[in-house]
């Protein structure tokens, strides 16, 4: 048996090697984390640098508060992006209102209610939804959902915030659902037992004990879902109608930041105010998303028991 048996804890070559790889790995991890930040900041910079040029030609107030998006290459052009901001916020809210209860509900169902067999079948199926290309979602939305919405609401067109929110909800369902599912599953059984032993019903146990304990993960899931909804493009353009007008109802064609960017960014000349304005929209979208994330985090931290 070859074993050293000295208490001596002296430096050996092997030790240095291990220490070295340990350090290298730590630096690699830090480097990776920094890469992520650098990617984000370069994107913000990339969008922002081009975007701010907008304001050589457009007043800041007009850009943010005017609802008149009428870009072009002559004097009459106006660049009010207000509609897209309002649309984006409405769409995100609507998506969250639809998707959070359903997704978290599904997560609760999977983690707390469904029998093991069913769980094990449903989980991979939900995972599958993530892999469906957004084009397919968009296309199904266009061929099935939009006509259906039109029929239900008795309108000519079914395009609009509602259709977009429904498609997005379906797209974020697996993201929110599965990540919440995992974090609910991770809540130690002892909390549930304590609640049941007090005579709580399942509903009470889930609402007052399990969900609060899983909150960190659920909030994280919702943020990821929300950001995916914010950033999703291909499916949204197919069902939202793409008209730069303030939606008077949920079934009127309208436009949001992302859909407007996708529709136009490849279609306008570089070095035009229009192009700058679109870049600035991308930039603002990122800023809005970051603010939302920080906001949700702060709210969440504040309400946590210290």
């Amino acid at each position: 048996m070859q074993q050293t048996n000295s208490t001596a804890s002296k430096m050996s070559g092997r030790h240095w090697r291990l220490m070295f790889s340990d350090q290298v790995f730590k630096w690699f991890c830090l480097f990776s984390a920094i890469v992520l930040c650098v990617v984000l900041f370069s994107i913000v910079f990339f969008m922002g640098k081009t975007g701010v040029l907008t304001f050589e030609f457009v007043k800041v107030t007009e850009y943010f508060f005017s609802l008149n998006w009428n870009p072009g290459f002559d004097e009459t052009a106006t660049y009010g992006a207000g509609i897209f901001f309002i649309g984006t916020i409405l769409l995100t809210l609507l998506t969250l209102i639809i998707s959070v209860p359903i997704s978290v509900g599904i997560a609760v169902f999977l983690a707390e209610i469904a029998p093991t067999r069913l769980k094990e079948t449903v989980r991979p199926i939900l995972d599958l939804l993530v892999g469906i290309p957004s084009v397919i979602y968009g296309f199904l939305g266009l061929t099935i959902l939009v006509p259906f919405v039109a029929k239900v609401f008795g309108t000519q067109l079914g395009d609009g915030l509602l259709a977009a929110a429904l498609v997005l909800s379906l797209m974020v369902l697996p993201t929110i659902g599965r990540i919440s599912d995992d974090s609910i599953e991770a809540v130690p059984q002892k909390y549930r037992e304590a609640a049941y032993a007090m005579g709580c019903t399942k509903l009470q146990t889930i609402f007052f004990v399990v969900l609060p304990a899983a909150r960190r993960g659920i909030v994280s899931a919702i943020i990821l879902g929300m950001t995916r909804a914010l950033g999703e493009t291909m499916a949204v353009v197919m069902v939202i109608g793409n008209v730069p007008q303030l939606a008077e109802s949920l079934v009127q064609p309208t436009s949001v930041l992302t859909s407007n960017i996708v529709m136009q960014i490849m279609a306008v000349p570089f070095e035009s105010t229009w192009n700058y304005a679109l870049f600035f929209m991308g930039f603002s979208l990122l800023v809005v998303a970051l603010l939302l994330i920080v906001f949700v985090r702060i709210i969440n931290n504040r309400s946590e028991v210290q």
Partner: protein
């Protein structure tokens, strides 16, 4: 002689010309295996832009980008090389009884003066106007040739913009009272192409010049093409391709229109 060409070509631009370019690439690289080609397409305007930036050697565009067209300034220093002529058609849902619209009626519909099908001899139903997005070559051509450059409405509950030909086709197919426009080749089941001023949109009518809604597709190059790029353009404009793929794909060969 063509077999000696080598080099790499990137094509970007019009999505309407994508199928033709993909087919051309296929045939051309079969003959010239040493030419590397990549093709992409998003919108007409990105074609000449990519060429000017040096990102692509060929930028496909549904209009002649070396001249001014409504909405777009000309690109200096680019040379336009014709690919084929593309006919466009006004389309409505196949359940719509209307079969023909005059140019004035079309203009009135697209500028929002006529909003009900009964005003043009159809059912009493609102008209749903479907437009392509800004920057679409189809839209540029259609506005210029069918609508005489009129300014299309920009808002309303019965107005939407489609992000691609496919979306346009689907919308018209699934929306009973919709009107839209599309490349003639995409007219399939569920929709029908309307006559324009009484003239049916057919290849024959384009060739005999009785149907005016069509335009050339172009390959824009930076200056006169050279090397592999030139060989490719020559191939596309050559007889084999023009009488073969171009015809088969229901585009009109450039030589056919006098």
């Amino acid at each position: 002689q063509a077999r000696t060409v080598s080099g790499s070509i990137t094509i970007n631009g019009s999505s309407a010309l994508l199928p033709l370019m993909l087919q051309a690439k296929k045939e051309f690289t079969a003959r010239n295996p040493r030419v590397k080609m990549a093709v992409s397409g998003t919108s007409s305007i990105s074609g000449p832009q990519s060429v000017r930036r040096g990102v692509a050697q060929i930028g496909t565009c549904d209009w002649d980008a070396s001249t001014n067209v409504p909405g777009f300034k000309k690109f200096d220093g680019l040379v336009a090389n014709k690919v084929a002529a593309i006919p466009f058609a006004t389309i409505v849902n196949s359940a719509n009884p209307v079969n023909n619209l005059t140019q004035q009626q079309l203009i009135d519909i697209y500028t929002g003066k006529i909003t009900n099908w009964s005003q043009v001899g159809g059912n009493d139903a609102p008209i749903v106007v479907v437009n392509r997005a800004f920057g679409s070559g189809t839209r540029v051509n259609y506005t210029a040739k069918a609508l005489n450059g009129a300014t299309i409405i920009r808002s309303g509950a019965n107005y939407k913009e489609a992000s691609s030909s496919g979306v346009m086709a689907t919308t018209v197919r699934t929306t009973p009272n919709a009107i839209g426009y599309i490349d003639l080749v995409y007219v399939t089941s569920g929709m029908k192409a309307l006559s324009f001023n009484g003239v049916a949109p057919t290849v024959a009518n384009v060739i005999n010049k009785s149907y005016p809604i069509w335009g050339y597709g172009y390959m824009m190059t930076k200056g006169q093409p050279t090397g592999a790029t030139k060989a490719f353009i020559d191939f596309v404009q050559g007889k084999t391709f023009q009488n073969g793929a171009v015809k088969k794909m229901k585009f009109i060969p450039i030589g056919a229109i006098k």
